[in-house]
Amino acid sequence: MLARQFDALLAAADADDGVDFDDLRVARDDDGGYTFATPEHEATNLSESELHAHADGSPYVTDWYFWEREVQRHDSPRRAFLRHAEATDDHDAAARYDALADGMVTEWGQLRIEATLADAGDGVGSADGSRRYDVRHVDDADRAVEELETYDDPLDARELAKHDDDGMYRPLKTGTNMPTGWAFHDLDWRDAVETVETLYPATVANWYRERQGRLDIDHWTDTTDRQTGIYGVVSELPREAVEWVAEAACDDSQCVKRREWQYDEGDELAADGGTGAFPCREPCSLVIAAARKWTKLEEEEPREYTVRLTPSEKEQIEGVIDAVADGRVDEIREADVYEDANRYRTRYLRAKLFDDRGNLGGVATEPEEGHGDHED
């Protein structure tokens, strides 16, 4: 306990309401003495120096100071998030201090956030109760921080998270392709929250609203009805196709948010919303942009094509679509011709089945025009 922490405690005890926070009670009694109470013991009629003796080394005191004099801001998302990160609802300060010594871990999407107690710097472990945080990819959980690229400015996360491990641009910050190999290490609480919010913007705010039971959800129809300009057409996408949108884009395999929006209030989509730690409160701009394309595609009338395939060729086409949809194409080994989406297998299929206009089975996509549908 630092001198300023005891001074603050004394001032709070002398104030009208005293201290009544989590499992710590400190107050000035009517007779002028102090009461100091924790789950472990209670002492009354203490002099100032006796109070100091009780407070010194008490995790309840430095815990009070950290939350009430440093973090402050009751009813703020960031405070709630930090308390969530050390499970304050479930454990008292003493238990948390034991756990924080080893590190308390929270997963947030693909982030692993570890809270620890700061070392007071005197080498004897009498920490002042301030916390330090490490934010990294969950896949890097077991890696030593020295093995990772370390950062200390939360805003560096903007560039860091812009590309995936293959160097491709990530248009969706909550996509499941967060790059690995980095750590924001030894952050204070402010920078820890800022880092999380930079990597996953607005997730803390929306998670907090949800916890309070006041998450504002814009369902599919709410969001598409307000679109204008080139996105105005999206409201015409059939309900059935919205199921496919959710299945395609809003799955745990694609996005770490948990989809809370439905087709409409009281009209739930059958597609699973996922298991993300934080909610998705409306179709995102990526989904709306993709849905614009799907709306146009769904306006086309189906027609029948007669294409002759062997059973294995039909299965291969199905396998190719699966491999692309699941993002597995890059994992298929060059010589593994047992995989449907193997490059040589696919090139063979194309050589055999496509005519020189690129038409499957020699069948024109638009028979009356006699050529493929290559609008781009």
Partner: protein, 292 residues
């Protein structure tokens, strides 16, 4: 009562560089310390316009659009997505160039939002255009013997787009600093393709009035002007075209002095940022060389 600055921009699902200037200007302003919080929000990136206000705790928010002209985005999309209660474009009382500020309550957060006109139509944007000429030529006194072209997209969907180009071209012309000044467009006459037809001067600085570098400023315009046959091969600055030297500057929005325009917008809206404006001018006053 704390005050926040929120810079809102388009962003992109395809181009990772689109948001970079917005981040850069936000960082410059953040460092100046005039606001308790400086946040960015995007139409196509995150936090979305829909959610950006809930990422700041301040009660009083100045929103500055990183857009070139008044029109669809500033008048419809941004106010709608920010949920500005009672938004009416008439509150700006603008002639298409003169929007400054209108104040609303955000429906979902209850914050007081001072919704500013776009950066592109602010008078101080003219200074940034000129600064861009200094940057690209690496000459703080550039002007004598030089022509200056302001390039805009054109009036395909928004007549105010050309107004902003004309407005700044006129203001650059009025400084008397350059031999000739011309507004040029990608999609209408006078076209940027024919840039050398419009100048007598051997040296011509060409500055696109765009927020960020992307498809148009990095691919279309350099190829249209004949700086290069294929943008992937790059081009020289200056590049020789039809007996002229074309000093192509890229998007004006990447110029660091743009941070000043954002602050000017907030100041016009009542934010107490005068000291920050001085500070930002100090940090952005050096015109970097063309190779930077």
């Amino acid at each position: 009562m704390s005050q926040a600055l929120v810079i809102v921009a388009h962003g992109s699902h395809l181009n990772p560089g689109s948001s970079a200037p917005t981040y850069d200007h936000a960082d410059t302003i953040r460092a100046a310390g005039a606001f308790d919080e400086v946040r960015t929000g995007f139409w196509k990136e995150e936090p979305s316009l829909r959610e950006v206000l809930r990422t700041c705790e301040a009660d009083e928010v100045y929103v500055v659009p990183m857009f070139i002209s008044e029109g669809y985005f500033t008048e419809q999309v941004i106010p709608r997505e920010l949920r500005l209660d009672g938004w009416d474009v008439a509150d700006w009382d603008s002639d298409g160039l003169s929007a400054d500020v209108a104040t609303y309550t955000a429906e979902d957060t209850g914050q007081t939002v001072h919704y500013c006109g776009p950066v592109g139509t602010h008078e101080s944007m003219t200074d940034v255009l000129v600064r861009r000429a200094e940057s690209v030529t690496n000459d703080p006194d550039v002007g004598e013997g030089f022509g200056f072209a302001v390039v805009g997209h054109g009036t395909e969907r928004n007549e105010n787009s050309a107004k902003a180009i004309e407005y700044h071209a006129e203001r650059v012309r009025d400084t008397g600093r350059f031999e000739e000044v011309q507004a040029l467009y990608m999609d209408e006459e006078p076209e940027v393709d024919d840039v050398t037809d419009y100048f007598e001067s051997e040296d011509v600085v060409v500055v696109p009035l765009f927020v960020s570098d992307g498809f148009h400023t990095q691919e279309d315009i350099p190829e249209d002007m004949g700086l290069t046959d294929d943008y992937r091969d790059g081009y020289d600055v200056p590049a020789a075209v039809d007996g002229h030297r074309i000093w192509y500057a890229g998007a004006v929005g990447t110029e660091s002095l743009m941070a000043d325009v954002v602050l000017e917008r907030a100041a016009d809206a009542g934010a107490d940022v005068r000291a920050a404006i001085e500070s930002v001018r100090e940090t952005t006053r050096v015109a970097p060389g063309a190779d930077d």
